[in-house]
Symmetry: D2
Subunit: 362 residues, 4 copies
């Protein structure tokens, strides 16, 4: 009953199989006279993201998104993906408009400011963790444009949002259009993008570049990988020296094949969608059970995150029984929690958690 | 015959076994009533380096180095390890003294300058890739100390050096003492520290903190891991907010257990030493064979890197036969190369390479 | 009728006299054998703030504030004073709490973020341009304290506020105490500090260090100087390499004597107070006249800035008659303006402006 | 006998006259109905470099350099001029090639690294303080061009050099051509550009943009001003947000008219040339006298800086008599010094200094 985060889960066995295969078979462009093959140890390949597996990841992501020119780069954390991407979109004197709850604003200890050398993250209001169109328009208009002000920089959306809600393709497009009206490029923090696709039923393309997204942080870690995120530039004009930024950020891994292998494992056979759909289904099961037990949910449950609010005293009861989750602020007399499900959550776990409410008033 | 770099090799199977084990067994601090155990999927643990495997790494490194207070942090690249460490030792207006060939100066695209917000890497002369004591003293003394000058910051050594030579414990201590005379703290880039230990026969302690090293980048990636380096603070006073720097550098992985598992696999059963010793032995075999074939070596071969210089025309012959290596500058009429051996290099590969010289004049 | 800003005014003749005198007499520590004096051109002194006039400024400011250990540094702009000071108080991963309207947040194009390498300015609510105690407490408490969050850094007050109101000594102390409760140091942006002293009748000490201010940006430019601001550290422990920051910020002037001479001219014979009091008095005369003519004032007029709101159409009428001021947002049907008076504003100017309302409905 | 630096001198009276005039007459675009003129205090103008005097500076510099499109910005220090200019020419991961003795490398405490967010200053060899063409070519070629290396950024020349020598127009052009071959833009640190023009007899255009210089730091402070330098962009494509960089560097002065007034005073009636020529003439007189007294000069004296080397013991004798200068390294048995003359140096001072050698062996 471990619901603290989807990154508290381990990884599916397919990921380890892919790593081992990459280790065995990586002899890219390594053509030996047949007679000498016997002298070779397998597993060698070129470094720093120049290996064929990394190339294959780009080809696969282009296909998945139906975008033949997308440029793909791999890094190990969502924070790195977001901060490196934003540094390409926003000058040091620029403002990034994002949701008040956005990871880049609240949970990255200033990484975007660090990588962009001093830019500013500006929280925009909106219901249920989403930026509202009016909120965005108002926030951008309120940003001064004289030499004395931080300038307008970029829009950064998050889908799945930090509140566990999703933007539909239409909602994404509406915000992206406002951004474009003001000349802002659009970043999408997709640490849980697979869950958003699963939740909306939209295609990856519809939820990203077709809706106006220029750069996507396409998350793997929260969907079962050891630690891989892809930065996907749908607008390659915005790359602006991403590769130098990544290298001097210490985010260019020499053995890039092992990042690529993980990502390929997830892209294979629609696993990215199956894993995310499973996580969403477990969240729905949990939500339904909680509501049936009288628990209020602070936000609509649309993907794999829930924010239940139950009577005071219940949290410690649940924890005593082995449940793991984070506390959240909640109205007087109640206790708030955040529950996150993952590819790894089982129906049995969900039901065991729900059973803990027996005899209690949610 | 792949000798471009030790990071072109794959990883030993023990590493994958350790990853899989970590995936299965990670249920730290997760005590369930026995009857509910059946409902649990294994593999959960706390994130961001707070898991028990990461803790175990610190304990093991403390034991290995005989230093009960060392503080250990894991990151995925040597560039991140070096740059984050140096940012703690050197203010933005400080100078880091290092060898002219140092990775931090030549091969990190300015990562140390980025992480330390503008510090300066200053190349110091010395023979065979090592900083000479006189060279260091001269360089530090030449650094002005008025308000107008970049200030003195830190000393950064590299062992194994970029020339494939090693510092003995005594040589390390001599340089560290000079640094201390001038109030500089001492960083050691140990991307190939295991090879240096294997080469010198000194203990890890003797080559590091007992010789005056304050902070060590302890490399795993070039010794067989997928991508893990440990930053080891022997002088915890110098930590100065390392954790904030790591987080906002995007280098705090949520699933830290998989970094820890790799490092533990290497520390287990003295594998770190066996793997490095093997790489060194393969380099020695290669060096001996080359010398026997009349090839000159630009530097003494002391660890797992060689810089042969052979007659013009030979490089393309070798490559046509499947050998992989980097070109290096060399005297007129000759061709230079860099060959690196690894845990994965086989005697058969070495001999196959040497056999390519048949009928040639090195 | 030039009311755009107090920095649109020129400088009192005393300032130019002091500059000329500094030019003639600056032969510090320059003792010549009398017979050779004839060969000397006067006007030489040592550079980069080591001249005796700069030293004298520190002595005078210590006396003015009744603080024998204050450390004083001169720079040419308020932005530099604020940003350099804050960089000493707040790490790159720290948050500076300030008013929503604060110059450091709105009008410095990210200078504090630049000098502190990525810190964050956080706007706190409060009435009439002041931070409210509850607002401050709430904002600080809402700042997370995990490794993932930007940390708590410093409090920055502004007195006179951007709304033209002032903090009393008691109000300053109340906020500073809250800051201290949370371990934050306190910066005061005193671009118009002299006006605040004139308005409150408090002593400079009472409005600064006795109320808990650690570092003050003590403004000269808006009170009649060509371009000089003093950074005053009442808590010298916080200096943390200010001098290196200033030098590498390009803010250490070689001919520092001319900054010092200006500041001394202002400190001489209580001119700092006379000039500021005059500006405040002109603002009061203006306010009184406007109110008498039915104009609404958006904030209480306490120092030398007014925010009148008059009927739509009046602004262009005033401008056609030669009045200069900035537009401000205002309620439907009205027009807002900002008027600033200075040492140089005359009663005749004020009255001429007021006379423009003849026959109009404010 | 004050020869420490040209910035130890005061300022010519014409500068103060110009400041006072600017103070009195600055009522730009301020057209009053005549009858109300009596109510006006003179001296108002718009702020932040939008005043007519600042505009006039640009027009005058365009005329002086015969370049109708040059863009001119004023700042208060040479360090700011250099660092802000270079930040526009060189990315954070770029290398600036400059002389080993360059001010940007040695005397600015890392300001260029700070403003460009981590770029690298690389000292290039050459005789007499000048970069040699071969030295430059070699240094640029030695700069790696892989993703792992700091990239090639810009060339920065200094004229007058730190050794007191000058580049002719032809020498400048030769170096600029090499830079262009490698795609580098060219900055010229002209803190003593007026002295270089006076020394070479070349026109300002010939020594700058006609020779391939893209951006010039055109110094005023060392040629008699209180503290003003002009950044002159001959290639406006390179401006890249200079104005934002200046503002957030705290280098946009509100009362810009007083910077402009100083610069106009220097440009008026060829004073820039007269003052610099005088300084050069005084240096020549000093050099001639020293040589006649057997003193060796470390570098040819071509402008207003001398590096004499005299017998040990003489320095303290000179200082006891009231002479002021800096010590420099010198061959065994001798003492080195740096002497700088200025607009303010008198022949009598020079002769008094030379007379101190009576009875001595230089």
């Amino acid at each position: 009953m471990w619901f603290t985060s989807d990154n508290a889960a381990g990884c599916p066995p397919e990921v380890f199989a892919a790593l081992a295969a990459a280790n065995a078979n990586c002899i890219a462009g390594y053509s030996l006279p047949p007679s000498e093959g016997a002298n070779e140890t397998p597993g060698y390949t070129s470094g720093y993201g120049t290996d064929p597996l990394t190339e294959e990841v780009q080809a696969r992501i282009r296909r998945l998104f139906g975008h033949p020119d997308a440029v793909v780069r791999l890094v190990t954390t969502g924070t790195a993906a977001n901060a490196l991407a934003l540094a390409c979109l926003c000058p040091p004197w620029g403002t990034v408009f994002c949701a008040r709850e956005a990871h880049i604003l609240v949970d990255e200890c200033g990484a975007p400011e660090f990588f962009a050398h001093g830019s500013r993250m500006l929280g925009v209001d909106g219901p249920d963790g989403r930026i509202s169109p009016q909120g965005l328009r108002r926030a951008v208009e309120a940003t001064g444009q004289s030499l004395h002000n931080m300038q307008r920089g970029a829009l950064s959306l998050t889908n799945v949002t930090e509140a566990g809600t999703v933007y539909t393709a239409a909602q994404t497009a509406e915000l992206a259009e406002i951004a474009q009206d003001f000349g802002l490029s659009v970043h999408l923090d997709g640490a849980r993008f697979c869950n958003a696709v699963a939740a909306t039923g939209a295609t990856p393309a519809a939820l990203s570049w077709r809706a106006g997204v220029d750069v996507l942080s396409f998350g793997g870690t929260k969907n079962g990988l050891l630690g891989v995120e892809a930065v996907v530039f749908f607008n390659p004009n915005l790359l602006e020296n991403f590769d130098f930024r990544r290298k001097r950020g210490g985010h260019l891994l020499s053995k890039g094949r092992y990042l690529a292998a993980q990502m390929l494992a997830m892209l294979e056979a629609d696993r990215w969608l199956h894993w995310a759909s499973h996580a969403n289904a477990m969240a729905a099961r949990l939500a339904q059970g909680l509501v049936a037990r009288g628990v209020r949910l602070a936000y609509p449950v649309q993907a794999n995150i829930l924010f239940p609010q139950w009577d005071a005293g219940i949290s410690s009861h649940l924890r005593a029984a082995g449940a793991q989750f984070y506390d959240m602020p909640a109205p007087e007399g109640t206790e708030g929690a955040r529950l996150v499900t993952s590819w790894s959550t089982t129906p049995a776990e969900v039901d065991a958690f729900l059973n803990l409410f027996q005899g209690l008033r949610g």
